[in-house]
């Protein structure tokens, strides 16, 4: 893979004439790295400075790295993300222990100066190319005794200068490419950190998506509630009034009115169920506790409900809890042949724990039952967990743990 990248880089730079904008961008970029390496070079040549420079570089790895990142971004358009800040209670010592610091230190102390050396060479070659290729232009300034005034020599030097001028953009491009790679490897996040960041981004975007879906459900619910449901109620009321008032209409007409009235009432009930399935208004207005007692009351079997909530719960999590209890009770009514269900909902720390237990026949298998799989997926959508304890013969206990806040 690096070889193809390299080849592509070579092809690109060979196509690049020395007067092109890219050639100057590469050169400008690598040249800007030279001053930063000067202290290290001095330290290497002057051993008295070594300790001081080492100390400065090691304590200033972060600002130095930031400066390098700034150079990459502003002069080369490459964004090297900073590594994740490590948790270091003991600031300096803690930072020194971190691997990322050593990667950065390696960059500032070894790789950076070497790259800068390369960059200095390239800059030097540019200069040489300029000087040599223009030898005809200035050689007359030199004393006549100099061999440079011989035209075969001048021709050779010019040819050499032109060759250097052709080679320099190529070398500058190569040096820039090496710099970018080195910076990405040593100054950017390593693989584990990249993955960690990615996971965080994905988790964030998923939470956003879940919230967006929830908000959309609520909007639809509100629209139905304030619009269609009111109209239907009004219609049914008028039909009911007609049914009550028109005593002397032909029986077939009354029949039509009665049917229409009953249809309208059935439609209200259906719409109500639909709205409840989307997002119950009571959940938003009165909270989880009130909404849960509504489900428990509508359940076709006796439900004992115990809700104890402390602290804030994210609306999305409330919705997940609501639908989990609702679906779990439907499941129990369908399969468990239970006489009684106990639902306990409480917050413990920053978790919301739902326990739904019935005295039914048991044997619920979360790996097969689609209902339970759906519940598990719902819990997982907010990073929650679901566990089922259901021996054959019962009883069944479903425990769901959700984070209170996303």
């Amino acid at each position: 893979m690096p070889s193809t990248t390299l080849r592509r880089a070579l092809v690109r730079s060979l196509r690049r004439p020395p007067w092109s904008a890219e050639a100057w961008r590469d050169t400008r970029f690598i040249a800007a790295g030279i001053p930063m390496a000067v202290p290290v070079w001095l330290a290497v040549t002057e051993s008295k400075l070594l300790i001081a420079v080492l100390a400065v570089v090691l304590t200033c790895t972060r600002p130095l790295a930031d400066a390098q990142r700034g150079r990459l971004r502003s002069l080369y358009g490459v964004d090297v993300p900073p590594p994740r800040p490590g948790d270091s209670p003991n600031r300096l010592l803690g930072r020194l222990r971190l691997v990322l610091t050593w990667r950065q230190a390696a960059y500032h102390l070894v790789v950076g100066p070497l790259l800068a050396l390369g960059a200095a060479t390239v800059v030097y070659l540019w200069g040489a190319a300029l000087v040599l290729s223009t030898v005809f232009g200035w050689s007359w300034l030199l004393p006549a005794t100099t061999g440079l005034r011989e035209w075969p020599v001048q021709l050779g030097l010019t040819a050499g200068g032109v060759a250097l001028a052709v080679a320099s953009p190529w070398l500058a491009g190569l040096a820039a490419w090496v710099e970018v790679r080195a910076a990405q490897l040593l100054l950017g996040p390593d693989r584990a950190e990249q993955l960690e960041q990615r996971v965080e981004e994905i988790a964030e975007s998923r939470a956003g998506l879940v919230d967006a879906v929830d908000a959309e459900r609520r909007r639809i619910e509100r629209d139905l509630h304030d619009g269609a449901q009111q109209r239907l109620t009004s219609l049914a009321m008028n039909l009911g009034l007609a049914r009550r008032t028109f005593k002397d209409v032909p029986p077939e007409v009354m029949q039509v009115i009665v049917e229409a009235h009953e249809e309208a009432q059935a439609a209200i009930d259906e719409l109500r169920d639909l709205v409840r399935g989307l997002h119950p208004a009571v959940l938003e207005d009165r909270g989880l506790d009130a909404a849960l007692s509504g489900i428990a009351a509508r359940a076709p079997l006796p439900v004992r409900l115990d809700v104890e909530l402390s602290g804030p719960i994210a609306p999305t999590v409330e919705a997940v809890a609501y639908f989990t209890v609702s679906e779990a009770l439907t499941n129990v009514a369908k399969h468990a042949r239970a006489k009684q269900v106990d639902v306990s909902v409480r917050t413990t720390g920053d978790r919301l724990r739902l326990i739904i237990s019935d005295d039914g026949v048991g044997g619920a298998d979360p790996s097969r039952g689609t209902g339970l799989t759906g519940l598990r997926k719902r819990a997982a959508s907010v990073d929650g967990t679901l566990s089922v304890l259901s021996p054959l013969g019962g009883p069944t206990t479903i425990t769901v743990e959700l984070p209170c806040v996303l």
Binding site: A236, T245, A281, R286, R298
Partner: protein, 214 residues
């Protein structure tokens, strides 16, 4: 009887006016929010108020709050609350002020005009009318102690009592005789430890006991 209606949805408000007038009420005011409602009650002193729970500006429980003010300041005015959904705490709040002449129904019940008028009449006559869904919710709330002693049949009877039904209506709905209902009710009074006194008062007490447990 004179009535005041408070409902922010124009469609329903007009419908309610029509229904009430059709069954012989005189609608003296039909308003859209709680403040106007209180002003209308102050001005007209109606026999009964029909009010939506959710009203502007907050769209939360303005109706309940207004109802409590009305029950405190003008105890002779009966109040029937309509709600989009059941919230038993509204019922509990409402009944905490006074147990007679109050009602709490799901909004959709107005579609069944006969039932609605029936409930309204009960409330206007100083009785109670609780929506069956409210009663069902009250039943699931951690009832331990006294209510645990009731038999399922007695709980059914108590639930219907809480809705505000008469003995005859309870008997009809459970398909039993009036005397059987009376027997159940007596047994409920005994189990809930309610002293023999004015019978209708004890009914209210039983319903209250029901609410308190929640």
């Amino acid at each position: 009887m004179r009535a005041v209606i408070a409902e922010d949805s124009v469609l329903l408000r007009v419908g309610l006016v029509k229904v009430l007038e059709a069954v012989g009420y005189e609608v003296v005011a039909a308003v859209g929010d709680a403040e106007e409602l209180l002003a209308a009650v102050e001005e007209h002193r109606p026999g009964v108020v029909v009010a939506d729970v959710r009203m502007p500006p907050g769209f939360s429980d303005e109706g309940v709050k207004a109802a409590m003010v009305i029950r405190r300041q003008w105890p002779e005015v009966a109040v029937l609350l309509l709600s989009q959904y059941v919230e038993e705490r509204y019922a509990a709040d409402l009944l905490a002020t006074n147990t007679s002449g109050v009602g709490y129904l799901l909004k959709q019940r107005v579609a069944n005009v006969d039932d609605f008028v029936d409930a309204l009449q009960r409330v206007a006559d100083g009785g109670t009318a609780l929506d069956p869904e409210v009663v069902a919710q009250l039943l699931v709330r951690r009832h331990r102690d006294p209510l645990e002693k009731l038999t399922p049949r007695e709980r059914d009877v108590l639930a219907l009592m809480a809705e505000g039904r008469s003995n005859a209506a309870i008997a009809a709905s459970l398909v039993v005789s009036d005397s059987a209902v009376a027997k159940h009710i007596n047994s409920i009074f005994t189990k809930l430890d309610l002293p023999p006194a004015d019978d209708s008062h004890r009914r209210v007490m039983a319903v209250l006991r029901f609410l308190e447990v929640g």
